[in-house]
Each structure stands twice: as C-alpha cells, then as structure tokens.
C-alpha cells in the first residue's frame, strides 16, 4: 500500500505572493509615455526668411503674465480653439482670413486646403503649463477640423479611420505650427 503523502500547507502562499505583488507595485511605473508630439525645425545657420502673406498667419503670443494675444486681440484660453478654427476654416472665404488652395488628395478628390499657419511666440517667463495649454488648444482646433472633414467624407471620426485615410485627412487639414524665437520681458525666477 502506498504511503499517503503529507499535504503541503498553502496558507503561506498568499503571503509570499502578496510580497511579490507589493514589490512589483513599488518598483514599476504604469506607462505614462504620452503627451503632445512636436517636430522642431531643422538647425540652419542662416535665417531662412519665408514670405508668408499676412492674412495666412495666426499670431498667438503669450506674455510673461500668461496672457494670450491672438492676432492682436486679448483672448482667454477657453476661446483660443474656436478662434483658431475660425481662422483655419475660413468658411465664408473672408479676404482677411487665409487663402485656400485646391489640391488633389487621393480618396478625397479636390479639396480646398487652407494655407493658414499658426505662429506661436512665448516669453521666456511664460509658464510651461500655459505653453502646453496653448499648444493643446491649437492642436484641438486642428483635431476638431479633421474630425469634421472625416465625418463629411468618410462618415467616421478621424481616430476611427484607417491609416491611409488618416493620411489623406492630414493632408487636407495640415497642422502648421511655427514657433518664433522667445521674447524676454519678464524676470527670471
């Protein structure tokens, strides 16, 4: 007759696994690699002066006091998105708002692409938070326009489209942000 094996006590197993769990929770960081991606202009020795028609530029300036001046007007942050959208979209073909150029885009046919450029100037003493918020609002304006175009052409929001169609919408609603060298009016902290 076979000898009966003694049962292994598993009560401590929970303790051990709790220990491991705590260790992993403490040493790990939940993936937080997210943010607003941007591309810097390539380094160049000589200043390249690109002539852009004044009507095509939306000047956003943030001063040392975190106040926004959009095309010469003091604008609260909450209204920046709608101002930028109005500028980029130019629905009534207003001669003071940017020109449009008919471009052939695959899957979409001819589309009037806005030539508008968002120009961002900040002060050295602007807070980083404000800078990110302004970038965020400008990005939001473009995203909302892309959503609108996607819905109009493909019946889906931009995020739900295939990559090829997303590329097409990107070409139809380009994100043109240019950054001017910072100003220095505020005091260093």
């Amino acid at each position: 007759m076979a000898k009966k094996l003694p049962a292994i006590n598993t009560a401590q197993m929970a303790d051990i696994s709790f220990l491991l769990l705590t260790f992993f929770m403490m040493t790990s960081a939940i993936n937080t690699e997210q943010g607003i991606p941007r591309r810097l202009p390539p380094p160049s020795e000589e200043k390249t002066q690109v002539d852009i028609n004044r009507r095509n530029v939306f000047n956003v300036m943030v001063n040392f006091n975190d106040e926004i001046l959009a095309n010469g007007e003091h604008v609260p942050l909450s209204q920046l998105t709608s101002r930028a959208k109005e500028f980029l979209e130019n629905p009534l073909n207003n001669p003071h708002l940017p020109e449009k150029e008919l471009r052939l885009i695959e899957n979409m046919g001819e589309f009037p692409v806005s030539k508008g450029v968002l120009s961002l100037t900040n002060d050295q003493s602007t807070s980083y938070n404000m800078y990110v918020q302004v970038q965020n609002e400008l990005q939001r304006a473009v995203n909302e326009l892309r959503d609108k175009v996607s819905l109009q052409f493909f019946g889906k929001v931009y995020d739900k489209l295939d990559t090829t169609l997303q590329k097409a919408v990107q070409r139809a609603v380009p994100m043109n942000i240019s950054e001017a060298p910072p100003q220095n009016f505020g005091k260093a902290e």
Partner: protein, 168 residues
Amino acid sequence: MARFKKDKKRELAAMGTGSMADIVFMFLFFFMVISNMRETDVRVKLTMPSATEIQKLEKKSLVATIYIGIPKSPNENTLPPGRVSVQLNDQTVKQENLVGDVRDFIAVEKESRNEEDKNRLTFSIKADRDIQMRYINLIKGELRANNALKINYATTKRERGEYAGGKY
C-alpha cells in the same frame, strides 16, 4: 417569534483562504503586464501639465526622457538662479556642462539604437508645469542644434472641459 431566534451554539464557518493565493497571483500578473520597470531614479520633483489632445508614444524603447523640475535635494546641480534642475540619465547637470552634456546624451541615445530606430527616436520633455519657459527653450535649442528634432511634451490626460490648472 421563537421561530426566528438564533441558534447560539452555531459557530462561524471558517473562511477558505486557499484561493486567496490565486487571486493575488492574478493581481501580480496584471501589474507585471501593464507596468514597466522604473529604470532611472528621478531626482527632481515635477507635476506634469495636463492636456486633452494627447497621443501615446509608440514604443517605450524609442523614447529618451529629459526631466526638468525642482531638485529633490539641495545637493543637486541647478541652473541659475538655482531653483530648477535638468536631469539627463541619472544625474542633474551643471550649468557650465549643459551644452556638452546634452550633446553627449543625444549622441549616446542615438548610438544605442539601430539605424532604422534612430530616426524614430523621440526626446520626451518631462517638465514641471510651474517652471518658466526659459529652461524649456534652452533644452529645445540644444536638441535642435544637435538635430534631435522629434520631441514630445509629456503630459497627463485630462478630459475636455476640465480645469487646466494655472490662471485660466
């Protein structure tokens, strides 16, 4: 109502703890899967700004992080006038070495990736929301000078309409 009187002799049934281990193991695996090891020791205090229009970065291995924030200990190197530190790898940089250190950091990060990944390498700026732009501009200038053009402003997620912090 004698019918509902409790039977005082009855004892509480012992709770089975055998499955506890299984549940905890499940938690453990969950955490192991969703998390990645913290590889650098962050020497600065920072609260990232929040944003609504964020994008997830494609791959953790294609991201090099630059931390800018308030030093945790008074022994750290700071940039003048002394409130803000820039951390590359495991160290805060001295002001006089900043240009060289950033150049070396970029070169090392690029060197450790293969040819294809070099162009996809993103430099993520993790900075405190309350610092002034002068420090960010400084780092951006160095990144640009060293041809590291793909950057990212690290933020946390916020829903549209939520308060962004700061003045507005």
